[in-house]
């Protein structure tokens, strides 16, 4: 059974009474006052009982952040964010949610139904508050014990997989050694903000020579969705190890946090391999572009040792604005970086996404396959940098950027930057832009497919090269997701 289904099955099978470990006390906590100053940073750090060095690290980031200005180079357009008008620490709140599914937006329920999400989980996702929810939430909280069960298995192999806060408490040396070593506190406006106020996230350490026995998934941590505004993820693969990490729960959550500024750091030491897969389908806003998440994320991997490999696979269908460039620093000789991306925008969504492949070592190789699909009034930009350092002898890159347009009012843009300081480097870039033709639509519909099914089929064909790099359980859901995100894009 694929890991996700297995987890769902396990979670639902667990008896509520078996629930032993609780975050309940933590969940009771209140939120920091609105706005951001040094006291907010101190508040967050104190709430999490952090050591002095981490507080100093945060404060240092905060002070830098004050000197920085918001980047404006991306092809996205949104009203000025008032950073003093946000809450920077907010544990799950006890606001009055809908009391039953009857009160939930039917459109949202229809989406859940199409994804095949069981009713009980629909209630959690929609934030329904009633007796049912207690059971369901407990079941989800029990995923903590599920994690514990898995953790026993992982511990046998010496794998550490826990929340970031826990890692700070239990493995301070590892955190101290690697935190900010890939994305430094001074990196960019949003990453610096994240460094100052990050709430929690995931921490993974795979010891030398260990092949992680299962795919690690943030699904386990669904209960922390409301604290995900400023997530921090740190994954370290020690020499010769392998890990596949799945981010994101593939149900569309309606999150009230408008701004998400996460940071993900990956460190792959000699001969290690990290495969990082994301399916992101946050609330994209309504048809007129009202609401929706601003997803300003900094993701970067460092192939720190020779022959290391980092592979990013992403499926982006949600968020009002996506600003995201999962990158690889190919520092070790013979190291390999890969980026496979599907970015779908519909309605008024704006996507500015791509990758950076920084070739520093000899014989480093990278591969970029990006598939952008724009529909409605959306704009979809691929922005990528491939660079070869003076010492990156025989660096190789292959880039393929394909854009597919649906309808007359959307835009696709490709902005590749190529910088080579080594004459032996070979960089290839291929780009295509196409439209779903009326003839293709007519051919499919004349065989009995509805217009929406026809679009989904054609788009799934278009993204096939990337789909096959996704772990199995993501692949099937992604195919469904593509159909859902493009609904209403024709006719």
């Amino acid at each position: 059974m694929p890991a996700v289904q297995e987890t769902i099955a396990t979670v639902s099978a667990i008896d509520v009474d078996k629930y032993k470990y609780g975050f309940t006390t933590e969940i009771e906590s209140e939120r920091a006052p609105k706005g951001l100053d040094e006291s907010t940073v101190r508040y967050i750090s104190a709430k999490k009982g952090e050591p002095e060095w981490l507080l100093e690290w945060r404060l240092d980031a905060y002070r830098r952040w004050l000197t920085m200005t918001e980047p404006t180079w991306a092809r996205v357009d949104y009203p000025q964010i008032d950073f003093q008008d946000l809450y920077y620490y907010s544990a799950p709140k006890k606001t009055a949610g809908p009391s039953s599914l009857d009160e939930v937006d039917p459109e949202l329920l229809a989406t859940y139904a199409k994804l095949g999400i069981p009713l009980r989980e629909q209630e959690i996702l929609a934030g329904v508050e009633n007796g049912q929810r207690q059971v369901a939430v407990d079941a989800v909280f029990d995923s903590v014990s599920v994690v514990t069960t898995f953790r026993a298995e992982l511990a046998k192999h010496g794998v550490i997989f826990c929340s970031f806060s826990e890692a700070v408490r239990e493995y301070p040396e590892l955190v101290k050694q690697y935190l900010g070593s890939v994305v430094p506190t001074s990196d960019n406006f949003y990453a610096t903000l994240n460094s100052a106020v990050f709430s929690d996230g995931s921490f993974v350490y795979i010891p030398k020579g260990v092949r992680c026995p299962m795919e690690l998934s943030t699904y386990f941590r669904i209960n922390e969705k409301n604290t995900g505004q400023f997530e921090r993820t740190l994954i370290i693969a020690d020499e010769g190890s392998y890990v596949s990490y799945l981010e994101g729960c593939t149900a569309p959550t309606r999150d009230e946090n408008q701004l998400h500024a996460a940071v993900v750091e990956l460190v792959a030491l000699k001969d290690a391999e990290i495969k990082y897969s994301t399916v992101q389908n946050w609330y994209p806003g309504d048809k007129n572009g009202k609401g929706g998440i601003y997803n300003f994320v900094t993701k970067r991997g460092d192939c720190r040792g020779d022959s290391a490999k980092i592979s990013w696979t992403q499926v982006e269908t949600g968020s009002a604005i996506t600003w995201k460039y999962p990158s690889c620093i190919l520092r070790g000789d013979n190291s390999v970086g890969e980026f496979y991306s599907i970015a779908i925008s519909n309605g008024r969504q704006q996507v500015d996404s791509g990758t950076k492949m920084i070739h520093l070592g000899k014989n480093t190789r990278s591969r970029i396959i990006s598939k952008g699909i724009s529909a409605g009034h959306s704009n979809n930009t691929y922005r990528g940098l491939v660079s070869a350092n003076r010492k990156a002898t025989n660096a190789r890159n292959f880039t393929q950027c394909d854009s597919l347009l649906i309808g007359e009012n959307c835009g696709a843009h490709t902005v590749p930057y190529i910088e080579s300081r080594n004459s032996s480097a070979v960089f290839e870039h291929e780009a295509t832009t196409s439209k779903i033709s009326d003839d293709q639509m007519f051919y499919c519909t004349s065989r009995g497919l509805s217009e929406e099914d026809a679009v989904a089929l054609i788009v799934n064909g278009f993204v096939k090269d990337v789909l096959q790099h996704l772990p199995m359980e993501f692949m099937v859901e992604t195919q469904k997701l593509i159909g859902i995100s493009l609904e209403g894009s024709v006719g």
Binding site: S437, S446, R447, G448, E451, I458, G461, F462
Partner: protein
């Protein structure tokens, strides 16, 4: 089965009139051939019957089993039993032929309120059908029509027809781009589907296809109207004398 009454149609975009009052009755089990010179409206007729929205019906009606289908979209007509074998089958990159076949079969079953076909049933069906048309399993795995030869594309059209089991099959110049051997395979595929409850409209320029698929009725189309109707001998006559006589009649 099919009744076309005084059908007028034009290109939606620029209003060019193409069909100028077509009358045609096709009964179950019959094979009608429609012949005519270039630009007479043969392909347009096939598109209008299938519901392509590049065309507007300005007058007249199309009845299928007594009911007008003008308001139905191409997918609804397909579910009702229409099938168009394309003159130029369209490429769908990245979608394996097999995947497409299954999606089409299930879409029609769904529209008729039936359950989805099981994978073993589907595999068996495709295997049987493809074998008759000399279609290799390799071809079934390739993206639909992408890089297919002319013959492969046409055989693939006939395979889809055989799998979908339509009531009314419209073949738009299925013989174009086929060599003699491929023509034979395709014709045999079509003939195997002939049955008392299924009808065919075969659009072609040339008589040679009608040697293999013998029609019951032959119509000559000129300037968007049927100007002559006869038996199979009419096709032979056309082959000998060309369209000149009939085109003049229409003018």
């Amino acid at each position: 089965m099919l009744e076309i009454k005084n059908l007028h149609a034009r290109i939606a975009e620029d209003g060019t009139e193409i069909l100028n009052g077509i009358d045609l009755v096709v009964k179950p089990g019959e094979v009608h051939a429609i012949m005519g010179p270039n630009g007479s409206g043969k392909s347009t007729l096939s598109y209008v019957l299938s519901g392509k929205d590049d065309y507007e019906v300005t007058e007249g009606d199309i009845l299928f089993n007594g009911e007008s289908i003008l308001e139905l979209g191409p997918d609804e007509r397909a579910a009702a039993g229409f099938f168009l074998a394309f003159q130029y089958p369209i490429e769908i990159p990245g979608v394996a032929t097999m995947t497409f076949l299954k999606a089409a079969i299930n879409a029609q079953r769904k529209a008729r309120g039936e359950s989805e076909i099981t994978t073993p049933d589907f595999m068996r069906l495709v295997k049987e059908t493809s074998a008759k048309l000399n279609i290799s399993s390799d071809m079934l795995k390739r993206p639909l029509n992408v890089g297919f030869s002319g013959g492969e594309k046409k055989r693939n059209e006939i395979m889809q027809m055989a799998l979908l089991q339509p009531k009314l099959c419209i073949l738009d110049e299925t013989d174009s781009g086929l060599d003699i051997d491929a023509l034979k395979v395709v014709s045999e595929g079509v003939n195997a589907l002939r049955s008392p409850d299924r009808a065919f409209i075969v659009i072609t320029h040339y008589q040679r296809l009608l040697d293999h698929i013998v029609p019951d009725v032959v119509h000559v189309l000129s300037k968007g109207r049927i100007v002559k109707t006869g038996g199979p001998e009419l096709a032979l006559e056309l082959e000998k004398n060309g369209y000149a006589d009939f085109v003049d009649v229409a003018a």
